[in-house]
Amino acid sequence: MSSDRLIYVDMTTETVEIRDFPEEWLLLGGRGLSAKILNKECDPKCDPLGPDNVLVMAPGVLGGTSAPTSGRISIGGKSPLTGGIKEANTGGNPGQHLMKLGYRAIIVKGKPSDQGGRWGLEVDSSGASLVRTDEYKGMWNYALCEKLHERYSKTASFISCGPAGEHQLKGASVATTDQDNRYPARHAARGGLGAVMGSKGLKYVAIEPAKASTRQPKNRKEFGNLCKGYSKEYLGGDQMFKFGTSAVVPLANMLHTFPYKNRTSGQSPDVETLDGKHIVATFEERGGGMHNCLTGCIVKCSNVVHDSEGNYKTSALEFETLTLLGANCAVSDWEDVADLDRLCDEIGLDTVETGAAIAVYMDADRLAWGDASGMKKLMQEISDGTELGRAIGNGAVATGKYCGHSRVPTAKGQALPAWDPRPLKATGVTYCTSPMGADHTAGLIINPGLKPEQYAWESQKVQIVNAVCDSSGFCQFLQPNMDDIRGFYGAMIGREITREEIADIGWQVLEDEWAFNDAAGFTASDDVLADCLTEDPIGKEPTVFDVPKDIIAAAKKRMPNQEDLFTARAAG
């Protein structure tokens, strides 16, 4: 581990430098490492699409090891959508490959003077270098990856931005290729980091692992036992995600958190036709199936969806996409949502932000509810960079301004995901207080029975747990708890990590992120939700988000560690 390195890329001078990884950052990875780097290297007041923003790509602490489902990667930077710090976490194989090569992060700075130029970053065991690749300008992600596989080996993995990122749109995602290294179907979607990548002229990163070997812990026997034990327990347990998150649709609807028509209701009349069970039902006849998005994943929550002819259509058709591009836009057919999902992956868009933006557009009577064909045309407009396309591609707030429509459900400028804060008030506290804005992966609490006096602790607890999980490389769907993670860390570095240490690591991530946001100009007055969420009730016993300010504020003041902090499972 002492030979680990950082890759610094300067897009202004088109130079790459490899530096040693600081020893004091040994237990930093993923989200935590990104926050540390951004506080050190990025001016919080910078223009997110300017040369001073810094784009970080950081695998987790356990990436590249044999720990199950530990190869997630964090993409970080100042978000052009929220104006604050952003970490978007995704799967695929780049995280595993970078760590096996000994690279703890890629740090991209600057901006080329030739804004029409495109570059690729090539990473392998000998180092990293930039290549000029204007021929890939404007390419959709799938076609790009096909071309890249002609240029690089079949074992290479890729990180890329699509036309949305190249147009520097605030809803743009960063794509990664999945375990098979073919499909750019995994996305670090939230917060517009694809626009940051595009603003720097960086079209792709190609990582060639060749024969790089698995990273070895200091205490191999203990680590191996932990891997075996955890895998056995997980595979012998509930395996909550064996049919993917799309199977959550009916229960979410019952809990009034399957938003319909721009969140004017928490239930959709199309719940039956949007139910993920229909996706699973196609596997036998059409092919496709469940698979793991990264090497070493034991969860296998990702679906591979084929069309009626048996051809590949899309992958990772998730609950959030079925909600925001489906129910929230009154689209009733899951097959249309699959088409839209593919288009978002191609163009490089966050399905949540894009679905929310289109729902605002529909709510403003600019497009009929449920017009999936019209939505597909909007996607083409985004790809083409038309005035309308730019509005939609810039997200829900921009779309609201374009249409003169004020009903825009957001927190810190980012559109809400499926999980609604009106029935799930503790989750609403997360949306208010998380440095990420409206991000359920920052800390999801699905417990409508909580009392108000419990909201602050429940939100703080899960925010700490998820911060540690997203720094570790573990997938949230593996659902490790803090005791699990500190056990793996301890075996990795050869000494025990105490409960206090792991809790401090998690809290420090949040503090680093809040500090960045404070310096960027955020205040407590920004820890709020859009008016429609505090004024428009939904639910069986109609309710609004009415959590008092003092309870929201309490979630940001560190509370004493309690037993459940270490036993609560990551939840996103």
């Binding site: 995600f241 998150t245 959550v248 029935p423 699905i446």
Partner: protein, 91 residues
């Protein structure tokens, strides 16, 4: 002593926040019916329209997962603990 039903967090809105309830019943089906009698909002969360378990619900009896096709006729002892697991999370 009566069998205990452990309520998962997503279902606690239906039980006004209670995380476990003790109910009378000779079988799992009886106990779930008793729970529903106390908290009607549990009905659709637990049972499909035909009275079978919802597909997203798993029942764990004294730590052992019951397969869906075992049905609700499994007989109980007084100290038994029934845990309801619901598959919900995610993005």
């Amino acid at each position: 002593m009566m069998p205990k039903v452990i309520i998962p967090p997503p279902y606690r809105g239906a039980t006004s926040g209670l995380d476990e309830i003790s109910v009378a019943g000779e079988t799992i089906g009886d106990c779930l019916s008793s729970a529903i009698a106390l908290h009607e909002d549990l009905r659709e969360l637990l049972l499909a329209l035909d009275g079978t378990l919802q597909p997203f619900v798993t029942v764990v009896l004294n730590g052992e997962k019951l397969s869906q096709d075992k049905g609700l006729n499994v007989k109980l002892a007084q100290k038994d603990v029934i845990e309801i697991i619901s598959a919900i999370a995610g993005g």
